[in-house]
Every structure is written in structure tokens, then in C-alpha cells.
């Protein structure tokens, strides 16, 4: 597996004296859908700000496609690593949705023609094309979130980092978001999802890294991590609903199957009850 981001012994302390990262090491592989899971204040955002050089390592190093982030500018790194931040209000400034999406493309010096083509394409993909002439602030919160993602995807980075994309989103929006993530993954993008929303990551991701107090405390497949009650408790997280129900059933078959979705749980129940053969 090809490593696209290599984090080694990374430590970072904020000016106020808060140690946000302690000796973090992590590899991100090409094309995977990785989750960085952790409660508020665990250091997730601080970690991902190292991926495009917004923060430079105080100790240890971060390499993106083999390039040390200390030796490259934020603009250079951002072309490869697109970060969508948590709060869309922290980036919208244009009068029109269209300009908001074109902003990064202009900064990176694309031609008028390319810009027109890419903006149209990404607005269509995210069902925002009808709003192209609207002010970004008049959109609903779900549309704003999509616009924030679209404004990054427009320039087609290889790695896409989504910081807490589910905050303030209802169930329908979350399902849509998951659909977009699946679409991106089909285009061989590497996706890093940063969240404390443990229910959101039960389905559709390859690997989960758990952070707590500035450290990586666990790593594994969703099935391993989301059934590790002790690890989650240590990280100030609680079991997602389906593993919790499954564990409460107390049947040995649970540990063999470790259901994560409604369907898996249902088929396990059916198996145990022996209703259907």
C-alpha cells in the first residue's frame, strides 16, 4: 500500500501551553477512507492542520507524497490536500455561490475556461447549480456544508479532509453526505473524515484511528474499533447504538459477526432466533 501522508512522532503545543498533540505517528494510504475519531478537544483539528502545512511540526515530521511539509508552502500542499473546515461561516465571503467555488481555482491560476468548466461540474454534482447566483449566506445549513465541500473539490485535490462535516446536519443531510463520500471514493480519492460523531462512521469507511488527549489511542477496522467498549470509554466516546444492542444480546454469535448496520443486526437476530433457515 502506498503511503500518501506520513506522520512521525509529531508533537504540537499551542502558545497558551496546551499540548494538543503528543508524539503522534500515523500513515494514510492511497485511496482509503480513513476516520479520525475523537471527542472534542482530542487534537483532531490540530493534527489535520499539519497535513497541508497550516501548522508546522514542532517536533517530529509530516510528509505529504514524500515531501516534508516544512519545505513546502501551504498553497503547494493544499493543491494535493484539500481541507474542508468545520464551520462554513469561516470561509464564505463572496456575493455569489459561483464565486465561492471559483475562489480556489483563481488562486491556483487556472484559466477562465477551466474555471467555468470545473465550477459548473462541481455545482451540478452537489445539486447547487440552481443557486449559482445566490449569496452563500442565504443557503440552508445543509447547502452551506455542501458548498464548502464543493469549493474544495473544484480544484480536484488527491486527498480530501473533512473536519466535522456532520455537525448541525439532520439525518437526511448526513445520508446525502455519505453518498458524496462514496462517490469521491469511486474516483480514487483518499478521504480523511474527522469526527466525534460515532454513529456516522459505522458504515462505509475502511479504517478508524481513535484520538484522545492529543494521542492516538487505537487503530483498526470499524468492526474492531466500534466493538471495543473499553477503548471508546477511555477516549470519552460511547458505543454506537447497534454494537450496544448487539452486545446486550449477550450471544456468542455477536462476537463472530459484530454487526454494524441495521441489516447485519437483523440477520443476526434472525439467525439466533432460528426463524428462517
Amino acid at each position: 500500500m502506498e503511503t500518501v501522508i506520513e506522520v512521525r512522532n509529531l508533537s504540537y503545543m499551542y502558545p497558551g501551553g496546551i499540548v494538543a498533540l503528543k508524539n503522534v505517528s500515523l500513515d494514510v494510504y492511497l485511496g482509503e477512507k480513513l476516520v479520525i475519531l475523537g471527542s472534542n478537544g482530542a487534537g483532531k483539528s490540530t493534527l489535520i492542520k499539519h497535513f497541508n502545512g497550516l501548522l508546522k511540526p514542532q517536533r517530529g515530521y509530516v510528509k505529504v507524497f514524500g515531501v516534508d511539509t516544512r519545505k513546502a508552502s501551504v498553497a503547494e500542499l493544499s493543491r494535493k490536500v484539500g481541507i474542508v473546515f468545520q464551520n462554513p461561516y469561516h470561509q464564505f465571503f463572496s456575493e455569489k455561490v459561483w464565486d465561492e467555488v471559483a475562489f480556489a481555482l483563481k488562486n491556483f491560476g487556472y484559466s477562465e475556461e477551466t474555471i467555468k468548466y470545473r465550477v459548473t461540474k462541481v455545482l451540478r454534482l452537489f445539486d447547487l447549480y440552481d443557486y449559482a447566483d445566490k449569496p452563500p449566506f442565504e443557503l440552508s445549513s445543509g447547502e452551506m456544508r455542501r458548498l464548502a465541500i464543493a469549493s474544495i473539490l473544484a480544484y480536484d485535490p488527491d486527498i480530501i479532509v473533512l473536519d466535522e462535516p456532520t455537525v448541525g446536519q439532520d439525518r437526511i443531510q448526513k445520508e446525502k453526505l455519505k453518498e458524496y463520500i462514496r462517490l469521491l471514493s469511486l474516483q480514487n480519492k483518499t478521504i480523511i473524515l474527522v469526527t466525534h460523531d460515532i454513529e456516522f462512521v459505522t458504515e462505509g469507511f475502511d479504517r478508524i484511528v481513535v484520538m484522545s488527549n492529543g494521542m492516538i489511542v487505537g487503530e483498526g477496522s470499524p468492526r474492531e474499533i466500534l466493538y471495543d467498549e473499553e477503548l471508546l470509554r477511555k477516549a470519552n466516546l460511547i458505543l454506537p447504538q447497534i454494537p450496544e444492542i448487539a452486545l446486550k444480546m449477550g450471544d456468542s454469535a455477536v462476537f463472530k459477526k459484530k454487526p454494524l448496520t441495521e441489516d447485519e443486526l437483523l440477520s443476526l437476530i434472525v439467525d439466533i432466533l432460528g426463524v428462517r433457515k
Binding site: G16, A75, S78, R79, Y89, H90, Q91, F93, I152
Partner: protein, 261 residues
């Protein structure tokens, strides 16, 4: 940019610290601030400025959280160096190898730096609600005093916002340090516009929160912890006064404050 915002954040965020200055009554601290500030406007003598600087340093190390104060100052010092260059250019024009202008600009910046340092010392060690209480006790209507609280209270919040916005726009390829002067000014817009919008929206939230808790429904109010003058407050202000008086008299050859009467 990020550095300056982080400094502002450290300067105005409230943290309880058990240092001497943090426990001085804000009224006395404010009076002391005025006593320290006044003579700076009376003279341009670098020797006296140096004496004041040493006094502030002394207070920083012995009476306050020095680490935090130096960090708050760090961003400002960077800004002052830029100011220095601008002032020098104005003073020196059209002869740019000008020792006199260099000296004069330095003194101006030194004076400004001392003022900033004093305010930093004051704000990093003062709980702003206590300051509002002090004003209230001086018969300032509480809603006026509270306006001051709000403006200071939201400096760290806005500073954090600006850091976030700065990071977000740089992630979208904005390069603030490229281009000519006007180009750079124009590039500030993607940072300033979201900051304004967020602040305006926040005003609404705060107004609602205040009203829903009946702010201002009665002109009288009580406080959880009442301010009380204690002995060490008086000692602090007297010693500060004595220091300023002595150094000024020794260095300038005349007694400050008296000359005004």
C-alpha cells in the same frame, strides 16, 4: 497575522491565576496604570523610558504570569517593527540615511511600546467583570460598564475566528504574502468579510441571550463576589507611585505631577 491574533487571544482570554497582580483590586490597578502612563507623555527621555521598562519587566517576572505576558507581547512587537519602518520613512523623507530620524522614530515606538506593555499587564491580569463592577461602584450605569465587558470579552473569540478564517482561506490557495501593496490589501477581504459577518451574527445571539436573562430589567444589581480594598492594593499603588516619582525626579530634575499645579 496568525501570530498577532494568537497574541490578542492570550492577552484577553480569562484564566484564573493565583499571582499577585491578578489579585490586586482593579480600581487600584487602573489608577496605577494612569500613574504609570502620565509621565510617559511628559518626557521623551530614553533613560526614563528605560526605567519604566525595567519596572514593568520587574512586575512581569515577580507579580504575574510572565510566560503569558511575553507571548501576548510577541505579536505586538512584530507589528511595532513594521510601524517603526513606516514612521522612519515618514520622518526621514527625502533623506533616507538619517540618524536623527532613526532616533526619533525609535523613541516614538518605544513610547508606544511602553503603553502597550502597560495595557497588556493590566488586561492579562484583570478579570473584566471585576472591572465592570468597579465602574458600577463609581456610579457608571451597569449597561454602560457591561458594554465594555462585552467588547473585551469578545476579543479572544474574534481572534480565534480570524485564525480559523485565515487557515480556511490559505487552504484554498490564498497567499497573503505575495503581490504588491494594494494586491495584498485586496487579499485581506476574504479574511475580513467572514470575520465581520460572524461578528454581526453574534451580536444578535448575545442580545437575545441577555434579554432572555432579563438584563437591564432593574438598574440595581448585586455581585457574586464583591470587590473589597485590601492592604496589598494600597501597598501596590503607593510603591508604584514612589518608583515613578523617584525615577522621574532623578532623571528629569523636576517633580512630575507637581508641575501641573
Amino acid at each position: 497575522m496568525r501570530g498577532i491574533m494568537e497574541s490578542l487571544y492570550e492577552m484577553f482570554i480569562f484564566r484564573r491565576e493565583n499571582k499577585f497582580l491578578n489579585n490586586v483590586d482593579p480600581r487600584m490597578k487602573f489608577l496605577t496604570l494612569i500613574i504609570l502612563m502620565t509621565p510617559i507623555f511628559l518626557t521623551m527621555n530614553p533613560l526614563f523610558y528605560m526605567a519604566m521598562f525595567l519596572f514593568l519587566l520587574f512586575q512581569t517576572f515577580t507579580l504575574a504570569n510572565s510566560r503569558r505576558i511575553f507571548f501576548s507581547l510577541k505579536g505586538i512587537v512584530k507589528l511595532l517593527i513594521m510601524f517603526y519602518i513606516v514612521i522612519y520613512i515618514f520622518n526621514a523623507y527625502p533623506n533616507f540615511l538619517n540618524l536623527e530620524a532613526a532616533y526619533f522614530s525609535f523613541i516614538s515606538i518605544f513610547r508606544f511600546f511602553l503603553l502597550v506593555y502597560m495595557f497588556t499587564l493590566f488586561f492579562t491580569t484583570t478579570y473584566i467583570d471585576d472591572l465592570a463592577q468597579a465602574l458600577y461602584k463609581l456610579k457608571v450605569p451597569y449597561h454602560v460598564a457591561y458594554a465594555l465587558v462585552l467588547s473585551v470579552r469578545f476579543v479572544p473569540t474574534v481572534a480565534r475566528d480570524i485564525i480559523q478564517i485565515y487557515d480556511a482561506q490559505r487552504s484554498r490557495g490564498l497567499e497573503l504574502d505575495k503581490g504588491g501593496f494594494f494586491e495584498r490589501l485586496r487579499k485581506m477581504l476574504p479574511i475580513l468579510i467572514p470575520a465581520f459577518i460572524i461578528s454581526i451574527l453574534r451580536v444578535d445571539f448575545v442580545a437575545e441571550a441577555l434579554e432572555s436573562r432579563a438584563f437591564g430589567s432593574s438598574p440595581k444589581r448585586t455581585f457574586m463576589t464583591e470587590l473589597k480594598l485590601r492592604k496589598h492594593d494600597i501597598v501596590y499603588i503607593l510603591l508604584s507611585f514612589a518608583y515613578v516619582l523617584t525615577t522621574y525626579t532623578l532623571i528629569e530634575g523636576e517633580v512630575p505631577f507637581l508641575t501641573w499645579m
